[in-house]
């Protein structure tokens, strides 16, 4: 079922920080901050991960000139066990926090929850996003960084980046969120950990298809 937001919450600002490899991507001009050191000068990858989240949130708040005391909710997650980086970032940000784990869909699911809270009138401002740190996630799911295993062409690369959006009540001059569709988990029995695109594609297809059908849209363009 598609959720139609009556109040059309606005996406007021975004904060993105990324690592050294991501800086070489075509999106690098949109990043607020890029570090050459994947650990953000912290002792461990996980601590660097936490720092990225804090910085991304701070950039998003700074752009709208709001303080962390003005933010009603923080929604987000990462891929480390128990989402420790996000939890520690939430500790330092001191914003009421909802941790969300939907793997690659965490960023958009946290934005949807933020919109629902805004729609409900429970939040004036909320921060929603997701993050990952390549080395920390490799340790979580795959091999040690320096292990010489060959990756096939279809292998995905978990990025080192954090992206948080500041969601607020509808404002004319900002992009707004009108509708959202929560997708189903779809399993077509793909069991190759180095081919996650094939595992995730059916769920993405079904979600986009049902979203477009219910909104009578032909494509996702604006």
């Amino acid at each position: 079922m598609v959720i139609l937001f009556q109040t059309k919450p606005s996406l007021l600002a975004g904060g993105v920080v990324a690592g050294p490899l991501e800086n070489r991507s075509v999106f690098s001009q949109y990043f607020d901050s890029v570090y050459d050191d994947e650990r953000w000068q912290m002792k461990t990858n996980e601590q660097g991960h936490r720092k990225m989240i804090e910085e991304a949130c701070e950039y998003a708040m700074k752009k709208m000139g709001v303080q962390k005391g003005d933010i009603d909710y923080l929604m987000g997650g990462d891929l480390v066990n128990q989402m420790t980086p996000t939890n520690f970032a939430a500790r330092d940000l001191e914003i009421p926090f909802i941790g969300l784990f939907s793997a690659c869909a965490t960023s958009v699911s946290s934005v949807i929850i933020a919109c629902l809270l805004t729609e409900l009138g429970a939040a004036n401002f909320s921060l929603a996003g997701a993050s990952s740190q390549h080395n920390a996630i490799e340790r979580q799911f795959r091999y040690p960084i320096n292990y010489g295993a060959q990756k096939p062409q279809t292998a995905q690369w978990t990025v080192t980046a954090a992206g948080y959006a500041l969601i607020g009540k509808h404002r004319e001059e900002y992009p707004s969120i009108e509708a959202a569709t929560i997708g189903k988990s779809v399993d077509y029995g793909m069991d190759d950990p180095f081919h996650m695109g094939a595992a995730m594609a059916p769920a993405a297809f079904q979600t986009i298809q049902s979203h477009l059908q219910q909104r009578n849209q032909k494509n996702l363009s604006l």
């Binding site: 990858n45 320096n146 010489g148 060959q150 062409q153 793909m190």
Partner: protein, 151 residues
């Protein structure tokens, strides 16, 4: 879409690994590593008091040491990406598996981190190596006892 249909589609769309190229790369890099091993072995035989039978242990120790250095410098994973089994199968791959796990888990402490995870990847090599050595020795012992072969 049915599961089988999707799997068929996935098979058609996914790029096939370049098997022949990969085999050739693995062959030459693996061969190169073995040639280095042979050179080290000859070094111990010529310059030290080792025989062909006893030079094995110091040779293994030396090439594992080389692979550990390369792992620490972050170079072994690049060799691994290029060579695949060529750098994973020789004993240098074992050194890489041990050291990479040690580096990875250093942040969790020396005992529970490094100690507890050192053989995370290499553990199965040790386990199945010991088990298969036991059974091979057992078979040979039986064959010698019934007089088929001699030690």
């Amino acid at each position: 879409m049915e599961k089988e249909q999707y799997q068929q589609l996935e098979q058609n769309v996914t790029p096939k690994p370049p098997y022949l190229k990969n085999v050739a790369k693995a062959f030459f890099v693996g061969g190169f590593i073995c040639a280095i091993g042979q050179a080290v072995s000859l070094f111990y035989i010529i310059f030290f008091n080792f025989t062909e039978a006893t030079a094995g242990n110091p040779t293994v120790a030396t090439v594992v040491f080389f692979s550990m250095i390369l792992t620490g410098l972050g170079l072994y994973k690049r060799i691994g990406q290029f060579a695949g089994a060529g750098s994973a199968v020789p004993v240098t791959g074992f050194g890489n598996a041990v050291v990479s796990a040690a580096i990875e888990h250093r942040s969790e402490g020396l005992v529970l981190g490094v100690g507890g995870n050192l053989f995370k990847l290499a553990g199965s090599v040790v386990l199945f190596g010991v088990v298969s050595a036991f059974f091979v020795a057992l078979i040979k012992y039986i064959l010698v006892t019934i007089g088929v072969v001699s030690w």
